[in-house]
């Protein structure tokens, strides 16, 4: 899975792969590639969720220009 891929994109790609594999008409070689990609996506999504920590940025009128972090 690409590092740049957003969580949403990764999830939707995973769904796409599952559906394609479930249709069962993909040739074996490609199926294996899709399976590998899907497993990697699932692992990465899972990891992202379990490792994420919320960031809070506070914007006040005075800080508007500097976008100070909280």
């Amino acid at each position: 899975m690409s590092k740049k891929m957003t969580f949403e994109a990764a999830l939707s790609r995973l769904n796409e792969i599952v559906e394609q594999l479930e249709r069962g008409d993909t040739p074996l070689e490609e199926s294996l590639k899709l399976f590998e990609e899907g497993s990697a996506l699932a692992a990465s999504c899972y990891k992202k969720l379990s490792e994420a920590e919320q960031k809070v940025k506070t914007i006040t009128e005075e800080e508007e220009k500097s976008n100070g972090e909280n």
Binding site: T6, F7, E8, L11, L14, N15, I17, V18, L21, E22, G24, T26, L28, S31, L32, F35, G38, S39, A42, C45, Y46, K48, L49, S50, A52, E53, Q54, K55, V56, K57, T58, I59, T60, E61, E64, N70
Partner: protein
């Protein structure tokens, strides 16, 4: 009032009366209850003109723009009100009237009335139309939060967001949520977040409070700012039972700030479970694919040729063995048969053999050329002949021949 007859101008009289009214403390601050009629809203000036009446009487009333601007509701004909003000005379017309400073609906609270009126007006305008509502993104990357930095609401929202979906960044705009400054600050925060494009969804709200406390969220200007936001807005004001104009103008209404946070983001645990389920489906689909393929080549794999490639050879060898043994048998049979035939033949031969005659004591005579002699005419005296007996032979010389009986 008049010591001696004198003639006054109308202006003098009206001015005098005006002074008389204004100097009467009983008229300086009166509360009057009555029904509004002949209501006229001078949009240009902002002054309100109307009459108050009861069953018998009527009094003209005016509310100047500077007082009318503080009204949360708009009076209308037939409305029961309590007016506070002073009684004075408009000297130009000599008309005495009630100069209204504050107006309250009689019965229903002013704020309630104002709420209903504003709600109806904006609803008619289409500000709350379902087709105006923007969808809330399923996976927001940034969540704008506009609320007080000190209330319980901000804590609740942050806690829920962190627990449910820590992937998203929180963009917090602290504002006052009650009092005069609240509405302009909330509007400003909405505009700033929209300007900076720094959120995918905005939660605006506060915790519970009195209707007065929640009032900024019933301000028309706030409702319009919420409706105008390009970024979807979730409104969460007060408790479950509190409805504000802001709620109607927002793209989504949440009963409480915590609920707003739950509506704004998906749940981490549900997502994890979903991903796990997808992974299982992936594995199952792959396994199904493999077993289908296996099933399609199993008949081939289990064909006898591939399972036991030597079998045809063995079959051939068996056939060969069978043929060999049949061959052997037939050869043996033939030999036995021949042998029997031979012994039969040799038996018959024995029976015919001259040797058998010799063995019975007879002799055979041969001349020198080896020809057997069976008549006396075939020998002459002094001729050497050979005589063969059963156990050998001897030579002898013919002395004489004598004819005799034939032995036949």
């Amino acid at each position: 009032m008049i010591q001696k007859p004198s003639v006054l101008t109308v202006t003098q009289l009206n001015t005098y009366l005006k002074f008389q009214f204004e100097s009467d403390p009983n008229l300086a601050n009166v509360f009057v209850t009555g029904e509004v009629s002949n209501f006229t809203d001078h949009y240009r000036s902002g002054h309100l003109y109307f009459s108050l009446k009861d069953e018998r009487c009527v009094i003209h009333a005016v509310m100047f723009a500077r007082n009318a601007s503080h009204l949360h509701f708009l009076p209308e004909d037939g409305m029961k009100v309590i007016a506070r003000g002073r009684v004075g005379i408009y000297e130009v017309t000599g008309q005495y009237q009630l100069y209204v400073e504050d107006l309250q609906p009689d019965g229903l609270g002013a704020l309630n009335l104002a709420f209903e009126q504003l709600k109806n007006r904006l609803e008619k305008e289409g500000l709350f139309d379902a087709k105006r509502k923007k969808p809330i993104p399923r996976f927001p990357k940034r969540i704008g939060v506009i609320t007080s930095p000190t209330g319980a609401a901000v804590h609740d929202v942050f806690t829920v967001l962190a627990r449910r979906y820590p992937l998203a960044e929180v963009v917090f705009c602290p504002v006052q949520v009650q009092g005069e400054l609240a509405a302009p600050q909330i509007i400003n925060a909405l505009k700033r977040i929209n300007c900076l494009h720094c959120a995918d969804v905005i939660i605006v709200g506060r915790g519970g409070g009195s209707m007065e406390d929640l009032w900024p969220f019933n301000e028309e200007s706030v409702a319009r700012a919420v409706a105008a936001s390009e970024i979807p807005v979730i409104s969460a004001v007060g408790h479950e039972t509190d409805f504000t104009i802001c709620d109607f103008a927002a793209d989504l209404r949440a009963p409480t700030p915590s609920a707003a946070a739950e509506l704004a983001v998906p749940d981490k645990n549900e997502l994890s479970a979903g991903i796990q389920a997808q992974f299982l489906r992936l594995q199952e689909a792959m396994a199904a694919k493999l077993s289908r393929l296996q099933a399609s080549f199993r008949p081939l794999a289990e064909s006898r040729v591939l399972k036991n490639p030597l079998e045809p050879l063995e079959l051939h060898r068996l056939q060969l063995d069978a043929l060999c043994s049949r061959l052997n048998q037939s050869v043996c049979r033939k030999m036995t048969h021949d042998r029997e035939e031979l012994s039969a033949a040799s038996g018959r031969l024995d029976a015919l053999s001259p040797l058998a005659v010799l063995s019975r004591g007879y002799a055979a005579v041969f001349n020198d050329s080896g020809k057997s002699v069976s008549s006396i005419r075939e020998v002459s005296p002094k001729e050497q002949v050979g005589v063969r007996l059963k156990d050998g032979s001897f030579r002898c010389t013919v002395n004489k021949t004598e004819a005799g009986a034939k032995y036949e």
